[in-house]
Every structure is written in structure tokens, then in C-alpha cells.
Symmetry: C2
């Protein structure tokens, strides 16, 4: 697992030969792992990974994120159930809920006589969410460098009230996404997924010069077909359906929920 | 630069001896670099870094982010001016504006007869912002593994209208943060910054058991004093002031701006 060269990974991403690349180690061959071996990951390794997460940049050193690990078997089953019943949430050696966290700073600020009213603004929701995601992805890169597999769980947002109750989150704390960590099951190899051509996401000087998907729909159609999915339903079609109003899986109430918990009131 | 061992970096983060750590290479010793040498970073290296960014996880493979590099000297000076006039934005070998991008997918979805109305919801703002941050941080980890220094620029959000005009961003695209890349100036060494103790950010099973900053205010007070900042103004005090209503540097209008550009209307 994770043993492609950067050149191989480039070809799998873009369906084309790589230019001369620097040694980018394992950064190009990420894939989400949904089948884990039962071996544990030692607590000391996880402490190292949390240190990596905390080493990520954080706006003005405010550190507006936290994480809760859920290791108790019954509680893990409960949170897996809330996360669209995904089996890999049950099976992962470690599961973390990544939180955006205004609560810790609000308490600290009030203790020194500051009101921290800025936290009511959308800016500080955005800042905290960026902080949390940067921290998680540095943890992920560090974990993958050790051969650990990961899977992000957006479905942590499907049932915010129940997640809040289970994890005992106070006002000003929101479960933004989950993260599974575990040793990849080699026999059920997940593949590096093709991505949009670089020209479709990296623009020079101004947005959208020649905005085009290139051959991406065809490449994804082939990728899906190889995996036994219905042919002729390409990326544009699948993604278009995914962002249909009817596919929000409970998340259509997110703004209401967040404002009720003290976020983005202004 | 970036030459601390994980054990050294741990001590600088937490002011305490490290437990036995796995080989986490350069993941623990990130610092923001604000002084760059003038040497360029080759285009092929940057292409590799963009491939790393695109290799990050993306929710449902929707890839709801883009990046614009600003290399033209006059345009770079303009964007530096919009980003609180930060000199390192001018000096960096490369500057990227990281964008959350609903536009590309909306065009692709409409081309196959889908309306993509889900993108109006807060959920898809959250999803895109997470996508953009994960991509950026994987790029950053890859860059640092090559010895390149980075600095995120939250000030890209200070003047959203002017940034939108300069980068010609359409509706459904928002400049979330900037990113400077360059070779660190060794003589002006930026330090690894202390972080909150792990116990303050990593909770077990439920949030906040023993919520405490530990010795962090004292450690940060010492850190500031060593760098000639006013003593006795600790992290809680500085951070409390940072989240005061009066310190939003233009970002208090963020929700209004975002809704005007098609985000979070529901």
C-alpha cells in the first residue's frame, strides 16, 4: 500500500505521463481506506500524530479546533450509526471527531476580562474550520508516512444534534468531520483516484482562462466501469446528482443548527 | 531550517520531554516563514505540489476548490497591498490564492441537465472550505519536505470585493486564503511556536474532561518575552483581544459578501 512512485501516482491521477518530478514521497498516492486490519495503533504513535496536527498553521495562533477520540466499543458503534452506518467507522483502530472549537478560547478570554464577541461573526467560523482541516490533513500526511490508512467522514454532519449529545459538545463547538485511522487491509486494495487535469484547478493570474474538464469525464467513466459501476454515467452526471437539493442527507439544516450553537450569527 | 528532530520539535511545542515517537520527519517542525531568499522555485516543482494538493481527500470527489497563482510583479504588488500590505506576499517565489469553487461543478452539472441547487446550502460552503484547506495543507507538507517554506495569508479575506475583481472570480468562487511559497532566509530564522498541551485539544470519548490550558499562558509569556514583546501579556490576553469585535479588519461583512456571491443562502 502507498507504494506507487510519484511518477506512477501522477499517471493514475491525470492519465498522462509525469513531467520530471521532485521526490514527493507519499504525498501523491493518498486514497481513502475503508478496509482495515484489526491490529492496533499504539497510543504513543497517536500522540505523535496529534503533535503533527497541532504543528499545522493556525490563524493568529488561536488554535480554534479540538478532537475527540472515540475508542469505547459501544460508543464507537453509536457514532458509526450516526455516520451513515459506515462499517469502517466501526473497524478503524482509531476514530476522531474533529471539532471547530470557540469554547476553549471564549473561556480563556473571559477569564482575563475579554468578551470575545468577534467569535459571533462568520469570519471566526471560517477561521476555525480552516484551522481544523489544516490540522487534520497534517495528521493524515504524517499517518500515511507511517503506512497508516485514513478515511475522512463527512457524514459526521448528518446528525449534529445526536453527535453533540454523544460527545457532550458545549455551545461554540461543532463536529465538523470524522477521521478513521487504521492499518490498510492489503487484500482489498483501494485505488488512487483520477483527478481533474491541473489546468482545470490551477489558474494563472486570473480565474478560469480556458475553464475545461479536459478528458476527465471520459477518464472517470473508464475508472467507474473498471469497478463494475454503471457505464455512461460520468463525473459531471454523478457530481451533478450529488449536489442536487434532494441529496443533502440531513445537512440542509446546517445553517440553522450552527446559528443555534453560536456560530455565524453575524 | 526544518532540521529539528521530532523529539526537539515536541519539546519546543509542549515545553516537556517527548515520549518515544515514531519517525515523523518534518511534520512536527512547521513554522510560518515570512523571510524568503530570492531564488525561484521551478515550475515543475510547483506542478508536483499541485498534484499533491489534488491528491488530498475531497468529499465525494467533487473537488470544490481551485487555486490562482499570481506571479506578475505588478499584480503581486496589488494583491500584497490587499493582504494587509504584507511584504512576504511580495517576496514569495510563488503566491497562490486558494479558492472555494462552486462554479466549475455548477457549469459541469448544468451541461448534463442537473440544476445543482444543493450548492445554495451552507453544507456545500463547509464542504468546499474543507476541500480547499485539505488540499492546501497537503501541498504545504509536500513543499516543506523539499525544504520550501510557507506562510498562509488569512488577510486574503480582508477585501473580498477587490480580490474578486483582481482575480476575476465569478459568482460561486471565493478567495478563502492565500499561500506564500519560497526558500527560507536562513539568517532570519523563524521559530517553532509553542502550542496548547495535548490534553487541552485531544479529548477522550467526550469533550472537555478537565478543560484546562495547563502551563500554556506561562510558556507563551516566556516565548513572547524572548522575542522582545511586552511581558505579562499572555496567550489568553492576546487571543482574547484578537477575537474582540473591534479587530475584524474588514471581515465583519463576510456573511453578507458570501451570500451575495451565492454561498450559504439556505
Amino acid at each position: 500500500m502507498f507504494d506507487e512512485t510519484p511518477t506512477d501516482a501522477w499517471r493514475m491521477r491525470y492519465g498522462a505521463d509525469a513531467p520530471e518530478l521532485p521526490d514527493l514521497g507519499r504525498f501523491l498516492d493518498h486514497r481513502s481506506i475503508r478496509h482495515f486490519r484489526p491490529e492496533p495503533i499504539p497510543e504513543s504513535t497517536v500522540a505523535g500524530l496529534i503533535a503533527a496536527a497541532q504543528s499545522a498553521a493556525t490563524s493568529s495562533n488561536l488554535q480554534l479546533w479540538s478532537a475527540v477520540s472515540v475508542q469505547n466499543k459501544e460508543r464507537r458503534a453509536k457514532i458509526a450509526h450516526l455516520c451513515a452506518d459506515q462499517q469502517h467507522v466501526r473497524d478503524a483502530a482509531w476514530f476522531f471527531a474533529f471539532l471547530i472549537d470557540h469554547n476553549r478560547l471564549r473561556i480563556a478570554a473571559r477569564a482575563v476580562g475579554e468578551e470575545a464577541r468577534g467569535l459571533d461573526y462568520t469570519e471566526f467560523f471560517v477561521m476555525a474550520l480552516i484551522d481544523a482541516a489544516l490540522a487534520a490533513e497534517r495528521l493524515v500526511c504524517a499517518a500515511e508516512s507511517l503506512g497508516i490508512g485514513i478515511c475522512y467522514i463527512g457524514a459526521l454532519r448528518n446528525h449534529p444534534a445526536e453527535v453533540t449529545e454523544l460527545l457532550e459538545l458545549p455551545e461554540g463547538v461543532f463536529g465538523a468531520f470524522g477521521l478513521c485511522l487504521g492499518w490498510p487491509e492489503q487484500s482489498l486494495r483501494e485505488d488512487v483516484k483520477p483527478r481533474l487535469p491541473q489546468e482545470a484547478v490551477w489558474f494563472r493570474e486570473r480565474y478560469g482562462a480556458g475553464l475545461s474538464l479536459g478528458d476527465y469525464d471520459q477518464r472517470m467513466d473508464a475508472h467507474y466501469a473498471e469497478r463494475g459501476l454503471k457505464p455512461g454515467v460520468n463525473w459531471s452526471m454523478r457530481s451533478g446528482k450529488r449536489v442536487d437539493e434532494g441529496h443533502l442527507t440531513g445537512r440542509e439544516v446546517l445553517m440553522e443548527w450552527l446559528q443555534g450553537r453560536g456560530f455565524m450569527r453575524r
